[in-house]
């Protein structure tokens, strides 16, 4: 049984068909990538998974439970966390506070006990802080723990956002272009973190990424979308040689073609 099952979803905005009957199975404990040209519907799929959008037809199932139609916050409770293409953090808050906020669903105590900060509320805070410190250690961001996110470099913010998603202790992590706008070194670091999250923490990863070098190196399985339709799926090597994929990218991006041929 796949961890996540996207079953024939259709999504349109007025006359625009963003997703036109896409089915993807994400297996447990793998790294699955979704690629495709701009406007292929990749982020829309993410929004359907986290139930921000409701597809007109079809549904998304997580651990065999229907996610479609749930409130987005319920979806996170099931164990799905995500990062965004354009970083979604509180810029005036410190790294630590942002990560602590990521633990919100594990904080059950009310305003009153929390305000007095005694007994259970205190224990709860300590537990959450411990979980957050594990993430800080894992992502090697000890030195910026107390810095406001707004003062950090772009690559570091991306890392913090990844940490914020990890704070939810997800079973499935959705990464929307985790390496966009990074330099080579930052990309290498990020790839390392993604592999470690997958292998050491056992988190299943579904990612959207434009850097095909990275995608081909770290993913176990790749799905290719074009104009809201899945045109290919398989292991990275298979996808790279699929004539449909090459065709989808022709005229749009010659670099991609050359990249593919080189492999």
């Amino acid at each position: 049984m796949p961890l996540l099952r996207i079953d024939d979803i259709h999504l349109s905005f007025g006359g625009v068909k963003a997703i036109n009957g896409v089915s993807i199975n994400v297996e447990k404990a793998g790294i699955h990538a979704i690629i495709g040209p701009n406007g292929a519907g990749k982020t829309s799929i993410f929004n359907c998974i986290s139930s921000v959008y409701k597809p007109q037809r079809g549904a998304v199932y997580f651990e065999d439970r229907k996610v479609t139609g749930m409130k987005p916050d319920h979806v996170t409770h099931l164990g799905i966390a995500r990062t965004f293409q354009n970083i979604a953090l509180f810029h005036h808050m410190t790294v630590l506070d942002n990560l602590m906020l990521g633990r919100h669903q594990f904080m059950k105590r009310g305003i009153l006990t929390g305000g007095i900060f005694l007994g259970p509320a205190r224990t709860e805070e300590i537990e959450n802080r411990k979980a957050v410190e594990d993430i800080i250690d894992f992502l090697e961001i000890e030195n910026i723990r107390k810095k406001p996110v707004g003062t950090l470099a772009y690559g570091l913010r991306k890392r913090v956002e990844l940490g914020r998603a990890l704070a939810l202790k997800p079973k499935l992590l959705l990464l929307d272009e985790p390496m966009a706008g990074m330099n080579l070194e930052e990309k290498e670091d990020m790839a390392r973190f993604i592999i470690d999250i997958n292998e050491e923490w056992g988190v299943t990863i579904l990612l959207i990424e434009h850097d095909l070098g990275v995608v081909m190196d770290i993913s176990h399985r790749v799905s290719v979308l074009d104009f809201g339709v899945k045109i290919s799926e398989g292991a990275p090597a298979e996808v790279a040689n699929d004539p449909h994929v090459i065709k989808a990218y022709i005229g749009e991006d010659d670099d991609f073609l050359r990249d593919m041929e080189a492999r």
């Binding site: 410190e133 090697e140 000890e142 030195n143 470690d196 292998e199 050491e200």
Partner: protein, 635 residues
């Protein structure tokens, strides 16, 4: 202290004693992890050493074997060292930023059969060279992060080794005590590899006697107490850190604190508020330039307070150094300056609780000295070599002279050879260089340790070190000068990171300068000067003028004959990875002279611009080519 040494005369014995005396009641070590200072009592310290030591025994470690240790400052580093000593094996340290070549040379030369590596990064270095290191039997790592994919049978987790130790303890309960009891005062305790400014590293063999007599003698003139706090952030392979973290800490029982990450050192120092500190000049130099730069960024009021307070501090500390009576008005001003500025500054630097601060390893410019003393940090100069377990001279309390390195510590004799070289003799003089009898013979000829430094004594018995004998230079008109002296003055400028003075058998003194990238970068930004790389910034005409002003400032304080007449900003920083500096950041003059030969020839040939076409090598082996032109500035 010397009483204790009669019964407990080795590191393992002292550890056992401390575990008995302090038990769980006193903190021996702290390590910041997961945002919290995790504490280890003397009992825990002892237990880790015990089980790790027995664990290595069960893996076949024997007395006389060598154990190489590489990694950042962590409790495991120290545990591993004492654990090896408890077996009668000999530990040795490697600088954590060593290149592959250095790592494999030292591991091979030392005949190490066990390697204790901190993490994946260090393990990878050794695995890369494993084929050339047939003598290595086990590699033990203390941080398992990222190691899940490594299946080699000779790779073992630190905790696993401790478990082996626990099993051995069950089978043979008295073994550890027996092993510790067998360690002797005269035993070889540690091999300290000195990077040296010339040639391959040499392994100085130091005994427990060397380490402990030095620590005890130093304490007679610069005491340390059980309650002291120390932050360990300099490489543990360095003699200074060995002296503090091992010999002094074991002897007195003070607490050693390990920072969370190399990047968080400054923050962690502030959290701990250490009472004792011993660092090489570069740390103090960095602190001064940080302060100077931060002040430039501060509000106008703060800036004004600072510019008013600093001369007051200088005047006050000058009066103290000259041992003059302090005028009441100056005393009052100093109090005010302290309350308004210095106290806050000290707090920011984490130096508020400092009781004893010292600098050693190389000469510190007098300006940096004055700066700290003006602030109320009684920074003292220490002098010594690895070969004399680190220290032979220190400034005495209330008797600080900027130019001198103080007086010899007890049981230490210092005299000058006919050629003016500093010679010393003490119970702390090392046994010899490992597998290098010729160098040992040369260094210890006549029963005295030859330092290679030129110096003299002042009338009141303070030692003054001029420079390395071989570094003292002569101009063509026979004027003698110490390049290091001028360089230290130049390096006081926040914009100058490193520099090399030239002029031996030339007509005048010239200097090659490396800009301080962050500080000059900031200066450029505040003037809306755009730049791309270090090379680009260093070549800006505005930067050239900035440097010229800084050099002029220094020239005023120098005698007419030894002023810097020309300088050129270099296109890259001098780097230990390029063999231009030693790992303790001393300039390798001969190498630099050779490498920048055409730059130097260009300067003395009177050229205004020198074309550069060079290849830079990065730590990971990548190279890139630089093409630029260096401008020579005349003064």
């Amino acid at each position: 202290m010397k009483e204790i040494l009669k019964t407990y005369d080795t590191f393992p014995k002292l550890l056992v004693r401390n575990a008995e005396t302090f038990g769980d009641r006193k903190v021996a070590m702290r390590e910041k992890e997961f945002g919290i200072w995790q504490e280890f009592s003397w009992k825990e310290y002892h237990d880790h050493v015990k089980y790790f030591s027995l664990g290595m025994v069960s893996l076949g470690l024997q007395a006389g074997d060598k154990v190489a240790i590489i990694g950042d400052n962590r409790p495991e580093w120290v545990w591993g060292e004492v654990a090896a000593q408890a077996v009668g094996a000999v530990p040795l340290g490697l600088y954590q930023d060593s290149t592959l070549k250095e790592v494999s040379y030292i591991i091979d030369h030392s005949d190490a059969s066990f390697v204790l590596a901190e993490d994946q990064e260090q393990v990878d270095k050794i695995l890369d060279m494993k084929e050339q290191l047939p003598k290595v039997r086990y590699i033990i790592y203390s941080d398992p992060r990222g190691m899940r994919g490594y299946k080699q049978p000779f790779l073992i987790d630190f905790k696993e080794v401790e478990n082996f130790g626990r099993e051995l303890e069950q089978r043979d309960p008295g073994l550890f005590a027996k092993n510790v009891g067998a360690t002797k005062y005269e035993d070889l305790a540690f091999i300290c590899y000195t990077s040296g400014t010339t040639g391959f590293p040499k392994g100085a063999m130091l005994s427990f006697r060397n380490f402990l007599s030095m620590a005890a003698n130093l304490m007679e003139v610069d005491n340390k107490f059980e309650k002291d706090e120390f932050v360990s952030f300099l490489p543990l392979a360095w003699i200074g850190e060995q002296m503090m973290c091992l010999s002094s800490a074991l002897l007195t029982g003070f607490t050693v604190n390990f920072p969370e990450k190399p990047e968080t050192v400054q923050e962690n120092i502030r959290e701990i508020g250490p009472t004792i500190m011993f660092s090489p000049p570069r740390i103090w130099e960095n602190m001064t330039s940080t302060v100077q730069v931060k002040v430039m960024d501060a509000s106008a009021l703060k800036r004004r307070m600072y510019t008013w307070a600093l001369p007051v501090g200088y005047a006050y500390s000058d009066a103290v150094f000259r041992k003059e009576a302090i005028p009441p008005l100056l005393r009052l001003k100093q109090r005010l300056a302290y309350a308004l500025v210095f106290r806050a500054l000290k707090d920011r630097l984490g130096l508020l609780r400092i009781r004893s601060a010292s600098t050693g390893g190389a000469a510190l410019g007098p300006d940096v000295f004055k700066f700290f003393n003006a602030m109320g940090v009684n920074l003292k100069q220490i002098y010594g070599q690895t070969e004399i377990s680190g220290i032979s001279c220190i400034h005495r309390e209330g008797d600080i002279n900027f130019d001198s390195v103080g007086k010899p510590i007890p049981e230490t004799e210092i005299r000058l050879s006919d050629s003016g070289e500093i010679l010393s003799r003490s119970p702390s003089v090392f046994i010899g260089y490992y597998k290098n009898p010729e160098e040992t013979e040369k260094t210890l000829s006549g029963g005295w340790l030859h330092s290679g430094d030129a110096g003299y004594f002042t009338a009141d018995g303070q030692l003054i070190v001029i420079d390395r004998v071989k570094d003292v230079m002569h101009l063509n008109d026979a004027t003698r000068f110490s390049p290091q002296f001028i360089e230290n003055k130049l390096k006081f400028s926040p914009y100058i990171k490193e520099c090399v003075c030239l002029g031996n058998q030339r007509d005048f003194i010239a200097s090659m300068i490396c800009i301080d990238y962050p500080n000059v970068g900031k200066w450029a930004e505040s003037r809306r000067l755009s730049y791309t790389t270090y090379t680009d910034l260093a070549a800006k005409p505005e930067v050239l003028e900035l440097l010229a002003k800084e050099v002029e400032k220094v020239n005023v304080t120098l005698p007419e004959t030894t002023r810097v007449k020309k300088f050129v900003p270099l296109y890259k920083e001098l780097d230990a990875d390029d063999d231009e500096l030693t790992r303790t950041r001393k300039v390798r003059r001969a190498f630099v002279g050779d490498r920048y030969k055409h730059v130097i020839e260009g300067i003395y040939a009177g050229e205004d611009a020198i074309p550069i076409d060079a290849t830079i090598k990065y730590q990971d082996g990548k190279t890139s080519r630089i093409k630029t032109t260096l401008c020579v500035r005349n003064l």
